[in-house]
Symmetry: C2
Subunit: 401 residues, 2 copies
Amino acid sequence: MSTTIHAPNKVASTSGKPTRRLANRTRTKSSARSNETPVDQNSDKQPANIQQHEANTDAMDSMDDAQKKPTIRDVARLAGVSYGTVSRYLNGNTHVSQDAAERIAAAITKSQYTPNNAARSLAQRRTLTVALIIQVESNETIAQASMSRAMAGANQVLGDAGYQMVTLIANSEDSTRRIAQLVQSDFSDGYLLFSLSEDSMLANTFASVKRPVVLSEVRERENLPFPAVDFTNTEGQRDITRYLLDQGRTKLVYVCGPGYSPSSNNRFDGFKAAMGDRFNERHVYYADDWEGTSGEMAVVEFQPMLDELDGFVCANDSIALGVINQLNRFGYRVPDDIAVTGFDDSPIALLANPKLTTVRQDSQLHGETMSRLLLSMLQGDIVEPHYVQLLPTTIAERQSA
Amino acid sequence: MSTTIHAPNKVASTSGKPTRRLANRTRTKSSARSNETPVDQNSDKQPANIQQHEANTDAMDSMDDAQKKPTIRDVARLAGVSYGTVSRYLNGNTHVSQDAAERIAAAITKSQYTPNNAARSLAQRRTLTVALIIQVESNETIAQASMSRAMAGANQVLGDAGYQMVTLIANSEDSTRRIAQLVQSDFSDGYLLFSLSEDSMLANTFASVKRPVVLSEVRERENLPFPAVDFTNTEGQRDITRYLLDQGRTKLVYVCGPGYSPSSNNRFDGFKAAMGDRFNERHVYYADDWEGTSGEMAVVEFQPMLDELDGFVCANDSIALGVINQLNRFGYRVPDDIAVTGFDDSPIALLANPKLTTVRQDSQLHGETMSRLLLSMLQGDIVEPHYVQLLPTTIAERQSA
DNA sequence: CTGTTAGCGCATTCAA
DNA sequence: TTGAATGCGCTAACAG
């Protein structure tokens, strides 16, 4: 077995560094380990070989190490100015004399001062962070390329504007509830909500929130609680279906994504729109997720009538890959016998054999656009809840159709 | 073109809700739009049709809406107690009379009070958050299933312990610098550092940090700055190589991952270990990334000698899929002519044709274990920097080898 | 240009 | 059990 678990080395003292200076006033620090531990800490599964030290001087030392961070006052004292001046210096702009600035700068490096986030946020009443909240049914959803690209795009735009993006994952009732609380407590200045599910538990939470929110998907524009940015899912799927129809392929099966997903439903609408009268409810496979195995199952389901079919239009690329693989196994040639299309243009589209013809969407742009909208709201622009911006989709023509 | 961009509706007033009560003392709120905007806000790419309102009463109203959140004092006043009592009530435990508790509860729901995060953090000197920091060269790395599974695992364990996991992405110099600052300012109580790169710019930043840190990868145990949890990458790759050797396949090519990745290098070590004297430096393809296209390129590179080869051992699943596809295109049968193995056991292993034989690692466990270690450190346990915990890997035997 | 002062909202002593 | 007071570290208004 390749199951080597290295026994960890024995534990040494916390560090060789000398204890810090700057310890003038003696702090009150009772509560010597009682409420150090937060709620619900279940410490039963402790890794072995870790020194479980009880409340002793060592503990104090390590705590001190964490607490004795120099403050703005220490810097002021060192520089021989009032701490108001230091604050001004730190906030860049206002009038500080050359002389004072230099002394402060020196004092800062000498004391290794770093500002405290919480204090700043409290005084300014803003955190300079934007939370990107991902609400998912399945953890696999986070792994989708579109998601990480959107995150990258948002991270870039928000970062350039001076905001730090922090992403929170709501994948259970607990985590959703916890995040809901945070949102109510002004954890961030604004929120990008990737609620990949229609019955959003979070929606209610957000209803009363006083900070700007932007959504990533929209199904019904009418009762949209917040502005949103989405793709032209419907048009994209409609167009690629027409693309097949134009080739004379009319016996099409649709493999639908999970019913809780707005995008999934919008894409399905697009397929129906293109098919018109030719739409056949029995030529639809309803998947529970976005995974490749669902595509395989779809093909198995339709095996008896495979000879009469022209193509599979799939809700996304993973499903399409599953379809292609299963068709290959059954001995059908793609696209000669049966064409297959996907949606997303994720990297795996290129790993398909034959390479996947799919609907391309620029997910990075998605994140960027949502962020720009949020930023404008953070600036004070008022955007009505029904505001929707739709991003274009195009057909990426490859080999599978 | 399927490029429908809906023109957004015109803008309405911010909300129909009446202005809030609780406005006793008149606030000083000068700075009427000047420094509302944070640093570097480049507002040139504003979406159209959004009312860019200037400083007027509307702006004030919306600002007020965000600010007039009730505080603990408002609750106290409503309940007829001192705000100290309310604080005690909120923090669960200590002595509060039944009577007072009920009145406070009523006051809270009536005033819609929600605590303020920053104030709490400041007073408690802890945030009850743990930051999971992903430092990547390529954004595609975030999309890997292993990453999202680790995140899910960490989110679960940390959440159960009362901590909120917040993930930060460092994918540029700017973002890395920004995150480094946050870390210095006690943004979170602890850090899970997924530094998927050896020359970590963050490492220096973290060197002086006073909060617990756990790493996700380890190359050299000796000079490890923090405790780490990793997989038995070396043993895993060694074992699957032996698995091929035991089949009599000795003419093996290794497709190496990016050189900046510890895991990549460790896996390479494993291959070499298994090959021993048979290791041939010229039978190695050094990829720059973890992508499938690199696998394809590797096969192209070795095309002239493909007939003499027994198998491809790949640094991860994506690369392996690229190898399989390219071999298929060249008319080689997998595994009959040439075997192919991967590493990770990600979902795409099942989308390969034939299905991929690979090294399995439990990435969710990775996130969980890192989190448990961090939690123990947050409790005060002292873990020496060289502490390393290695998680097992096993062979997932399928069809490709 | 700079020092002083007053909070930001909450936790936590200390008396009562 | 509770009220009052102090401080967390910093920002921002106001005098000077």
